[in-house]
């Protein structure tokens, strides 16, 4: 066997045995403990020992979704940050960029994810969707059409959906906090 150890002694005498915390775990710890969230966003850990599964509640303080509390699940796998976190909206909401199954259209959750991004970037991106919904690249096409063609109707739909009403046969979850 080649004498690797002697080579190591010369090159890297200071190397220390490192703890058995996985790279994904360390990275999640770093991401979470450096979260810099405004008061409009709150994380909740159903099991505080499990850092990989939690929820985020967004309560916009301005814009058309003001007054609602929108809940998203975050599921991080052990291949993080190579793989992006999986994010879903837990409620049925009326939003051009969120479909009725809870899928969210946010580029950094899929095609534009890269390991240098972090949980903070994802959360900020989510909040932005409530301040500036984008009707050009919709997931809920009906909502998007309403938003660009008939803004008043759209605003009133947003309001009534947040109150848990039924719009065109779809029952929305009550998300308004007031």
């Amino acid at each position: 066997m080649i004498k690797i150890w002697s080579m190591k002694k010369n090159e890297d005498a200071a190397a220390k045995k490192k703890p058995k915390t996985s790279a994904a775990q360390i990275r999640v710890q770093k991401d979470l403990t450096e979260l810099d969230l405004p008061s409009t966003m709150q994380t909740h850990f159903p099991d505080p020992n499990d850092l990989l599964n939690f929820t985020l509640t967004i309560t916009p303080d301005e814009g058309m979704y003001k007054g609602g509390a929108f809940k998203f699940s975050f599921a991080i796998n052990t291949n993080y940050p190579h793989d992006p976190p999986k994010v879903k909206c837990l409620q049925t909401i009326y939003h051009p960029n969120v479909d009725l199954e809870g899928n969210v259209c946010l580029n950094i959750l899929r095609e534009d994810w890269k390991p240098v991004l972090n949980l903070n970037s994802v959360m900020v991106g989510l909040q932005y969707l409530f301040l500036e919904p984008n009707a050009d690249d919709p997931l809920n096409k009906e909502a998007a059409i309403e938003m660009s063609k008939n803004r008043d109707q759209f605003l009133s739909n947003v309001k009534s959906s947040m109150n848990g009403r039924n719009i065109k046969g779809v029952q929305y979850d009550k998300v308004s906090v007031s």
Binding site: K17, P19, I26, D99, R110, E111, P115, D137
Partner: protein, 431 residues
């Protein structure tokens, strides 16, 4: 675990068996380390002492096992969690149509033992994560022929973490191969000495992902229609049934749904083959590229085990589409690599030092420049600066003694905004 109960009839090697190999073991060459113990000593180590682990018994694994057996490794272990599929047979040459559905590790081990007398191959039909340090510690070398980033990251981190300064045997060279069509790479990783797999994570190609709104509303490519079927329609229609990309009925359903959507949008090109390729993220694979990369890996294992020639430092990359292009280079270690980089320091505490006092010590340490550190062990959080819920939950620990939370010689992972990655500290106590 399923172990093949095969007895190898231990016949002595016939005269001349190692005529070819012995030419490199009987004497050194111009590029051989002068310390090379030519002759009987090295042969004995290779054939009687050395123990090697092969991770993966697929395209690369089959080739690796055959090469190792012929070069004289006689105690070989192999792990693979997969079973044989018909699409493996164009390259995984230890398998036959009758083996479809059986464990790759078991069938491969049995085949090698039958074909190459006197070689013992011990299979494990399961996941690498099933095994712990004590298992990996028994080998001199590890060769990986894996197709998953996750598995590679896991074994890489495990082998790097196993390195123990006080135990030379804890350093296990890892040789990693990978292929994609006519392209491939082989590399030698000496944990903590050379760059590791995690150091090069950013070299990986990102798998293609399409914007979900394109899939939902503005499909243009056949792939968009296929993703619509698999990502959006499947969970909607089969709420509780998980998509199994190996089930032809599931693929058939996706194909039909995708084809209908494509027709609706006048998009051409949805085929069964493309559907399967997109949902399974199929990477083309051929026997020849696997043979090249596996041979390169095994040759490194042989040179490291015998010192009969210098070994690859440390990365070989092959592109076979246009002529034969290869590039051999030293991939550099990353200082901020979360697995092999970062700082590691020893801190000696009084047994009654509290967590809060430890944090103060860390903040005051001039050489690490740390602000607002968060601390954890591999199993629990000690103190988190954020988010509020976790800060609150861990706040009571501030007043606890470190010794209540971390054993003597235990490790703490420290992260902070001011650190590029992480710091690990080893705690010892003085009474």
């Amino acid at each position: 675990m399923a172990t093949a109960e095969l007895t190898t009839t231990q016949k002595p090697d016939w005269a001349g068996r190692y005529f070819h190999i012995d030419q490199v073991l009987n004497s050194g060459g111009p590029r051989t380390d002068p310390q090379f113990a030519a002759g009987d000593e090295v042969k004995k180590f290779l054939r009687e002492t050395s123990k090697i682990l092969v991770i993966g018994a697929g395209g690369l694994g089959c080739e690796i096992l055959a090469n190792l057996a012929l070069t004289g490794f006689k105690d070989i272990h192999v792990i693979d969690m997969d079973t044989i599929d018909i699409s493996n047979l164009n390259r995984q040459f230890l398998f036959r149509p009758k083996d479809v559905g059986h464990s790759k590790a078991n069938v491969a081990a049995e085949f090698i033992m039958k074909r190459v007398p006197g070689v013992k191959v011990t299979p494990y039909f399961g996941k690498i994560q099933d095994k712990g340090e004590d298992y990996y510690m028994q080998f001199h070398l590890v060769i990986c022929g894996l197709d998953s980033v996750e598995a590679r990251r896991w074994i890489n981190a495990t082998l790097v973490n196993m390195v123990d300064e006080s135990n030379p045997d804890s350093l296990k060279p890892m040789i990693d191969g990978g292929t994609e069509g006519f392209k491939g790479q082989a590399r030698v990783i000496i944990p903590t000495v050379t760059s590791c797999y995690e150091c090069s994570l950013d070299m990986l190609n990102k798998p293609t992902a399409f914007p979900i709104c394109t899939i939902a509303n503005t499909p243009r490519l056949p792939e968009h229609c296929i993703e619509w079927a698999s990502v959006l329609e499947w969970p909607k229609v089969f709420a509780d049934k998980k998509l199994d990309t190996d089930d032809p009925e599931h693929i058939g359903w996706l194909y039909k749904v995708a084809a209908a959507r494509a027709a609706e949008f006048k998009i051409e090109g949805v085929t069964w083959s493309l559907t399967q390729g997109v949902v399974k993220n199929i990477i083309p694979a051929i026997a020849s590229t696997n043979a090249i990369i596996a041979a390169a890996c095994c040759n490194e294992a042989f040179k490291i085990a015998t010192s009969s020639a210098a070994y690859l430092n440390n990365y070989f990359m092959l592109i076979g589409t246009e002529s034969v292009y290869s590039y051999t280079f030293e991939h550099e270690k990353r200082a901020d690599c979360p697995v092999c980089g970062g700082e590691a320091v020893d801190i000696n505490l009084k047994s009654d030092t509290t967590v809060e006092q430890l944090i103060d010590i860390l903040i005051e340490k001039q050489d690490i420049q740390i602000k607002k550190p968060s601390l954890s062990t591999s199993t629990k959080q000690i103190y988190f600066q954020a988010p509020p819920q976790l800060e609150q939950a861990t706040r009571p620990n501030l007043e606890k003694k470190v010794s209540e939370l971390v054993p003597d010689g235990g490790d703490i992972t420290v992260t902070a905004t001011t650190l590029p990655f992480n710091l690990s500290i080893r705690i010892t106590y003085s009474s």
